[in-house]
Symmetry: C2
Subunit: 207 residues, 2 copies
């Protein structure tokens, strides 16, 4: 019964949206929502929401809707959002600094424990509450599984290999570079250019 | 025949991936690719690629594959990536500075023409090649349709309304705030927390 089934990636990608939407309903003391209400707030289809949830079990109450608190807890459980997660930041430039201060990260239980840079002028300085460490002091085992890669593209590859040597198992890659790492390393590439390209498509197709 | 059909949003969201992948093939002087090769390089399914393309016409050559250059031109045309696009940046903090220097934007034909902030210490200073302007000098009509919103969340709403008064029609919203704007304004919300949440899901489900 509990045999592990593979959840499609687009479903996983929508879970944070549902989580955020349900959090809003909870904040407004809504106890039960319909999939149609979720659809209106997320901009997704109600049928999509129902199908996505079906991968994780039965949540709806026939003829009533979905119990907000329960569903919120379940999604948080599935995504481990109810745990604290520690991450190390590689690259203390503008993007790194922006990520370190990004309010959403702290709100969702993420905490930066280390920040590294190769710039002698930055090393030893404070970034938020952390002191910037020299990347040349690595590799050593870091007590984190998650690394945020925000270095310039030309050092992305070597930095990512260094991260793996420090015990990092999952990398959020902002460099726009395709990383070549062992199969067991989880990589998520964030490319902000895509978002701008998509925005422009919709701008033009409406115009 | 040329009746406009609605392209599903996920298809639009995949076009930049195809574009990037095809650009790589072209750089390596590959003239024809199969949908299976595209699948290997993008991590998507070959059937998905073929279905996505079918919305835009016939591209494949039976038994051969897809002509790289032609397909690249078509996608660039669909997404208007072959045009120059001008954008104004609102918020000259770490995130704004990171976005202004984000190499991908310039590579894809995006150009920032203005940058605004409300911090008296920043106004008049240079950010890249631009001089930071006082946001209090707005509204006035700006010669751009695209605005990048990178201000703190607590001023996101008022800043977005100001952007609309300046003639901005499309907003890339990095504030994590849901904006309330007229229906005809195109909004694309970028939430980096989602990406980190998805990364953690895959990290844990592999472990």
């Amino acid at each position: 019964m509990n045999k592990k089934i593979k959840i499609p990636e687009p479903t996983i990608e929508r879970l944070p949206l549902y989580f955020r939407c349900l959090s809003e309903f909870k904040k407004n003391d809504v106890a039960i929502v319909s999939s149609e209400e979720i659809a209106v707030h997320t901009g997704l289809k109600a049928s999509q929401f129902r199908k996505d949830l079906s991968y994780f079990g039965e949540f709806g109450i026939q003829g009533l809707g979905y119990p907000v608190s329960h569903l919120l807890d379940r999604i948080a459980g599935i995504m481990q959002l109810n745990k604290k997660h520690r991450a190390a930041l590689f690259g203390a430039g503008n993007l790194g600094a922006a990520l370190l201060h990004y309010p959403g990260f702290a709100n969702w239980g993420f905490k930066f424990t280390n920040v590294f840079d190769n710039d002698a002028e930055k090393v030893g300085q404070k970034l938020g509450e952390l002191t910037i460490e020299n990347i040349a002091s690595l590799p050593r085992m870091l007590d984190v599984s998650i690394g945020i890669l925000a270095v310039p593209a030309n050092v992305a590859d070597e930095t990512s290999r260094l991260m793996v040597k420090c015990g990092i198992k999952a990398i959020l890659n902002f460099t726009g570079t395709k990383l070549s790492l062992p199969e067991d390393i989880v990589i998520r590439n964030v490319d902000l250019t895509n978002e701008l390209a998509i925005l422009i498509y919709y701008l033009i197709s409406r115009g």
